[in-house]
């Protein structure tokens, strides 16, 4: 099994006709994802590499039965795009777009929580989600992941996620689902959401978690893990040597006022029973050892 998305997930691409959308939409379809349509109010009735374009998400749902959406709309339009998808009844929204203002993220996070509790938002500023062999939504190169299981991956960083998928594949270890939650201050889906789903998924037997400096998401995940996780977790946290007060690329990756340090996160995760890799390779080796003992 997998979490959040699988071979039945039918996806509409908001911003399919743009540079990123027209590249990744067809690529995701070629991977095997059910890419059923795209949206652009000005180009309804046309298509992108055979994928039909609709004026709105509601139109796309009516015509195709789409249940998920993937947003490639530029940052100024993301606020509207998220709400459009939720109002149309989309259950799973993956927002790939980076550079979304934090106030917009906080606003639509809380609006979804209040008015659309059944809609899950992933991102913004994330690589997307892949259930290898079944469904790939976003910008992950599908071939670097081995399908099957028993490992689930959840990560705040895009490239480190690819690194993890690739290292596991080279060790012949499969992945049920790999979720990139993104590095922004208000991610729609948290580590805890993913840990809970992996814990409930019978085919996921171990979890790899990749965190980074900034905020307290890793500490919250550690607290959850301690109470609710029975499956083994291997974790890696990037930014051990990051200087305070400097944003390290991601809008959320900053150590400020002595908070959000990698040391504190590593200590909390270790205390919660996770095994800690000090670099991505070591995390991969630890996971291989865990899988060998399953």
């Amino acid at each position: 099994m997998s979490i959040f998305v699988d071979e039945h997930t039918r996806v509409v691409y908001q911003g399919l006709t743009g540079g990123q959308g027209s590249f990744y939409g067809p690529l995701n379809r070629d991977y095997g994802t059910q890419v059923v349509g795209g949206t652009n109010p000005k180009k309804a009735g046309t298509d992108v590499a055979g994928i039909p374009v609709f004026a709105t998400v509601a139109d796309a749902i009516a015509a195709t039965g789409a249940t998920a959406s993937c947003i490639f709309i530029p940052a100024p339009g993301v606020r509207g795009a998220v709400i459009e998808a939720a109002e149309a009844g989309i259950e799973f929204i993956a927002c790939i777009t980076e550079g979304v203002p934090a106030h917009d993220e906080a606003w639509f996070y809380n609006l979804l929580r209040r008015d659309f509790p059944n809609t899950r938002l992933l991102g913004p500023n994330c690589p997307g989600i892949i259930s290898p062999g079944k469904c790939n939504i976003g910008i992950t190169a599908g071939h670097i992941a081995k399908e099957g299981g028993p490992v689930g991956i959840v990560s705040r960083s895009g490239t480190l996620t690819y690194q993890a998928l690739y290292e596991l594949k080279q060790k012949d270890i499969g992945v049920t689902t790999c979720v990139g939650i993104g590095g922004d201050p208000v991610p729609g889906t948290s580590f805890i959401d993913c840990l809970r789903a992996f814990e409930a998924d019978p085919e996921t037997l171990a979890v790899m978690m990749i965190g980074e400096i900034g905020g307290s998401a890793e500490e919250e995940a550690a607290a959850f893990m301690k109470e609710h996780m029975t499956k083994p977790v291997v974790a890696y946290v990037a930014g051990v040597t990051a200087p305070p007060g400097k944003k390290m690329g991601h809008a959320g990756a900053i150590v400020s006022g002595g908070k959000g340090t990698a040391e504190a996160k590593i200590a909390a995760l270790r205390e919660a029973g996770a095994q800690i890799g000090l670099n991505p390779t070591e995390a991969g080796e630890l996971m291989a050892a865990v899988v060998a003992k399953l």
Binding site: A75, I139, G215, G239, T281
Partner: protein, 379 residues
């Protein structure tokens, strides 16, 4: 992006928050002229983005023209914790009855806005939080609902300010919340927020940090951006659209993706070296981007070796390799380079690089081995 005090105050004034009349100046003559026209006494304040400028002698009261000149001469050009004072803010001095603290920021754990108000202002709020946490009155604001006057009033009452300050504080805080949300700030902070003997509530300082991601709806950000203090390397990188953070070490780091770049800096330090920078070139890794990255790295005199760490996802190994080869033809590089190329079509990429390998351009198969080699070469 952090604003200078004077920029923060001008922003506050636009949202109806009372601030002292004042002027931002860059020369002694302008300072004296501004002070004369404001009327004495005035305060001469160094504009630097670092705490503790008062203790460093960067804030002085002037009773007349002579004192205004003396202080302006002393403070302009002064070095405060590595920041050179280039701008002064001259403002009319205020009488202070009470000093409070007020701020709004995003509480990432609660995913709500957080307002903090304290009757103990004028000191570091972290210190108050640690020694006397009950002295800070907190309020969570849902961005969908906003901050109502009623809730704001309850919040102010819970902070136990002087009752004379209640009305003024409610008005200031409602306007501060507007400045925070409409201005797309990561942080707005007033410390101290003062109560004058006449009962007026007034912002005596302004700390504002804006969200760089919101620049598209704030044309005025460009003006703030132009006054940002960046070290030469960071300015150079910023002009090339690269995500760069200058560090102290001798191993230049280039990686694709923020997480991988951070991880690369870590691993260089773990094997006994020290990274000279964090540099994320993003997903593309073509010749243009790689050239810009190498130009930025080589502009740093401390760099003794360069570690290029690329993981190909959608971008194929051969595209990355070709980008590196072309960039090397364009940029003169003294320091030796160690490359680790992995991911999609890594073998094809490595084949392209092989004929170019030398003492100056080396390749290692893993991140760890490449980091070790780069650190050796930097010694």
């Amino acid at each position: 992006m952090d604003l200078f005090e004077y920029q923060g105050k001008l922003l506050f004034a636009r949202y109806g928050i009372p601030v002292s009349a004042g002027a931002a100046v860059t020369t002694v003559e302008q300072a004296v002229e501004a002070a004369d026209s404001l009327g004495y006494p005035v305060v001469v304040k160094a504009q630097v983005q670092v705490g503790g400028r008062g203790k460093a002698g960067g804030i002085k009261l002037a009773a007349d023209t002579t004192e205004a000149r003396t202080h302006a001469e002393a403070i302009l050009g002064m070095d405060i914790k590595g920041h050179t004072v280039e701008v002064l803010w001259i403002e009319k001095a205020s009488d202070i009855a009470e000093e409070y603290y007020a701020s709004f920021t995003l509480d990432r754990a609660a995913k709500l806005h957080l307002g903090m108000l304290s009757a103990q202002g004028g000191v570091e709020i972290e210190q108050v939080a640690e020694e006397n946490p009950d002295a800070i009155s907190r309020i969570h604001v849902d961005p969908v609902d906003g901050l109502s006057e009623e809730r704001c009033r309850e919040w102010v009452e819970a902070a136990h300010l002087d009752p004379k300050a209640t009305e003024g504080a409610v008005e200031v805080l409602l306007n501060l919340y507007r400045a925070y949300t409409e201005g797309d700030a990561d942080l707005v902070e007033i410390n101290p927020l003062i109560l004058t003997p006449e009962g007026r509530v007034h912002a005596l300082d302004a700390k504002v940090s804006l969200d760089d991601n919101a620049v598209f709806r704030h044309p005025d950000y460009a003006e703030y951006d132009a006054t940002q203090v960046r070290d030469t390397r960071e300015r150079f990188a910023h002009e090339r659209g690269l995500q760069y953070v200058g560090l102290e070490g001798s191993v230049g780091v280039i990686a694709n993706g923020a997480g991988l770049a951070m991880s690369t800096v870590d691993i260089v330090n773990q094997v006994g070296g020290a990274a000279a920078n964090f540099l994320d070139i993003g997903g593309g890794a073509n010749a243009e981007v790689m050239t810009g990255a190498l130009e930025v790295i080589t502009s740093d005199a401390n760099v003794r070796s360069i570690f290029i760490n690329i993981f190909g996802g959608i971008t194929k190994g051969e595209e990355v390799a070709n980008g590196i080869v072309q960039a090397l033809e364009r940029v003169q590089i003294g320091a030796p380079i160690v490359i680790r190329l992995d991911g999609t079509n890594a073998d094809e990429g490595r084949k392209i690089l092989e004929p170019h390998l030398s003492d100056k351009l080396q390749m290692r198969p893993t991140m760890l081995e490449a980091a070790r080699r780069a650190v050796e070469l930097a010694k």
